[in-house]
Amino acid sequence: MKEIIRITIGLTLSCFLAAMIMGAVFVVTDKTKKQNEYNKTQATMLGLLGYGKENPATEELKFYPVYRYIVEEDGETYLGYMVPVKASDYEAYEFLILDLEGRLVQRFTLDISLEKAIDDSDRQKILKETLKPETAFAYQDQTIVACLRDKRVAYLLPGEFTGFKTFIEVMLALDPRFDIIGLEIVEHEEDPGLGAEIEQDYFKNQFKDKSFERLKNLTVVKEPLPDVFRRYLEDPDTLSAKELEDIRNQYLDKDIYSLTGATISSRAVTNGVKNMVKRFAYRIKILDEVIAGHQIPAVI
């Protein structure tokens, strides 16, 4: 009997010790992890807009995230947008609750800075404090509005959709007219050599410059990628300005050329991007009408 007690105590103590060690390492590394993720997202966003080491972004380029929530109150469903606004001389957030027809139902001021709002748990805390206790809310997605000198230059949409294997996470850049500036594949679990080729330039750059109208019925064609188009997508520096212009115009209205042996992945990305843009365009129009109609001091 004494032995069993000794064994149990020994095991329990060791478990605690192990948990302490792991907990300590977790606390130390968690901050670095979050910082890394943030840096990676920033780099992706700047890359999509054409900035980089040779062309660094200036102070005048600002990113304003808009967060979308689904709100449920008294059995009714509403949409909630956290919009950055100007309040005296600092930037804060306002939470706008819209009904499904796009009419403003309620608005709240949220005392949270732009930096703090990036963290999901901080947002949740302040929403819980501000909204009525019976109101249920769930985070859906976010859009980052890029403004240069107070004018909108681009929308950056992080999104996730089902791919061939599991999920594909992307970052899409749209210009103010919803034409595609660029597409970046952030994360995926597709097969190497087959579906994983979606992250290669010759696939994702096909989405560049596609207009909003063209995107609405964009499909995937199972044809081989023409060599000249491939050069344009992968090594544009090897072509003259005139050649670039010609090739661009020639392929601007074509559908997406599918990847060899990865039709499902290609279709998943195309349909995913299509859905993202269509829904976003629909929603931002409604949001803009509300902001204009109620004179909300939004920074975007």
Binding site: A19, I70, L79, L100, T162
Partner: protein, 321 residues
């Protein structure tokens, strides 16, 4: 031994229809609507209990359809056709609907024979049993843990020499797999997630595995000593199997529900059993073949496994439901 398993298997087959009916569930929440389902990628069909007014039924404005997660984006209906029996309608769309997502149909007050039967909110989604089945087949064939995900290889090559050992190992493994997966799911949902102790996943899951092995060991010893004599030795080997840890990690990552976790564990276990069975059948024939000395033993086993893996690649891309 095999006949005992066969007897149990046959007996449990009768439970399947009951089980299925239970899981079918109902997608409908209004007495007048009998059934609603996806017809194909461009249409949804609704079956009513009686005859709705023809002009009400064929007016697209009476139907508001949206994906459950995007209630503000209404899908555009191209037309609504009344069926020949006057009790069913087919709602057609211009664009393909994503059948993987649950959809909601909000009906304005139903008009039937002059009476107003009130509004209805209908849920349309693929049969849950279909999704569960897809996970099962996925884990068993399409993403076979041995041939497609190359896990559990050490134990695999160790016990795939003879068919009987292989089958024994496979069955033992499936039992422990299901037990530990369910316990891990339980712990993950109710202890790890709420207290944000995600980093303890590895320790907790491997602990669950050890516990399951211990539990199955004790239970088997008491309940069926004969079975224990046959399987007991494999129980210890189960712990050194990568698959036994990979399944709880997967179901935690993908946030599966209890039924889905059960399906995943079952699929992984039976997939492993299938792989072992195939390998051992080939292994028995290999013993009689003339293999060069440097290849004897493990090297040729690996090459054989490689051939099987190539064959299993044929399953990739298979989409059920």
């Amino acid at each position: 031994m095999r006949s005992m398993i066969q007897r149990y298997a046959f007996r449990s087959i009768w439970l399947m229809p009951v089980f299925l009916l239970f899981l079918m569930g109902c997608n409908v929440e209004h007495p007048f609507v009998k059934k609603v389902a996806f017809k194909d990628s461009l249409s949804i069909s609704i079956e009513f209990a009686g005859e709705p007014d023809a002009d009400w039924a064929t007016d697209p404005d009476n139907y508001r359809i949206y994906e459950k997660r995007d209630p503000d984006v209404l899908l555009v209906i191209s037309e609504v056709i009344l069926g020949p029996d006057k009790r069913s309608v087919l709602i057609k769309f211009d664009e393909e609907i994503n059948q993987a997502e649950p959809h909601v149909i909000a009906l304005t007050p139903i008009h039937s024979q002059g009476k107003d039967l009130g509004t209805a909110l209908l849920n349309v989604k693929r049969l849950y049993i279909g999704e569960l089945f897809a996970i099962l087949i996925g884990a068993m064939l399409i993403n076979n843990y041995v041939f497609t995900k190359y896990l559990g290889l050490c134990v695999f090559f160790g016990t795939s020499k003879k068919r009987d050992t292989a089958v024994g190992m496979g069955i033992t493994f499936t039992i422990v797999m299901v037990a530990s997966a369910m316990m891990s799911w339980f712990l993950y949902q109710f202890v790890l997630k709420p207290f944000e102790l995600d980093f303890l996943q590895v320790v907790v899951f491997i602990g669950m595995v050890s516990l399951s092995v211990q539990a199955v060991d004790t239970v088997l010893r008491k309940v069926n000593p004969a079975l224990f004599k046959a399987f007991g030795v494999y129980l210890v080997l189960v712990i050194a199997n990568c698959i036994i840890l990979a399944v709880p990690l997967t179901l935690a990552d993908n946030e599966y529900s209890a039924m889905e976790s059960l399906m995943l564990a079952l699929g992984a276990g039976t997939g492993f059993l299938l792989a072992l069975f195939l390998m051992s059948s080939a292994g028995e024939r290999l013993e009689l073949a003339d293999i060069p000395p440097t290849y004897r033993g493990l090297p040729i086993a690996f090459v054989t496994a490689g051939l099987f893996a190539l064959a299993f690649m044929g399953f990739s891309g298979l989409v059920i439901f």
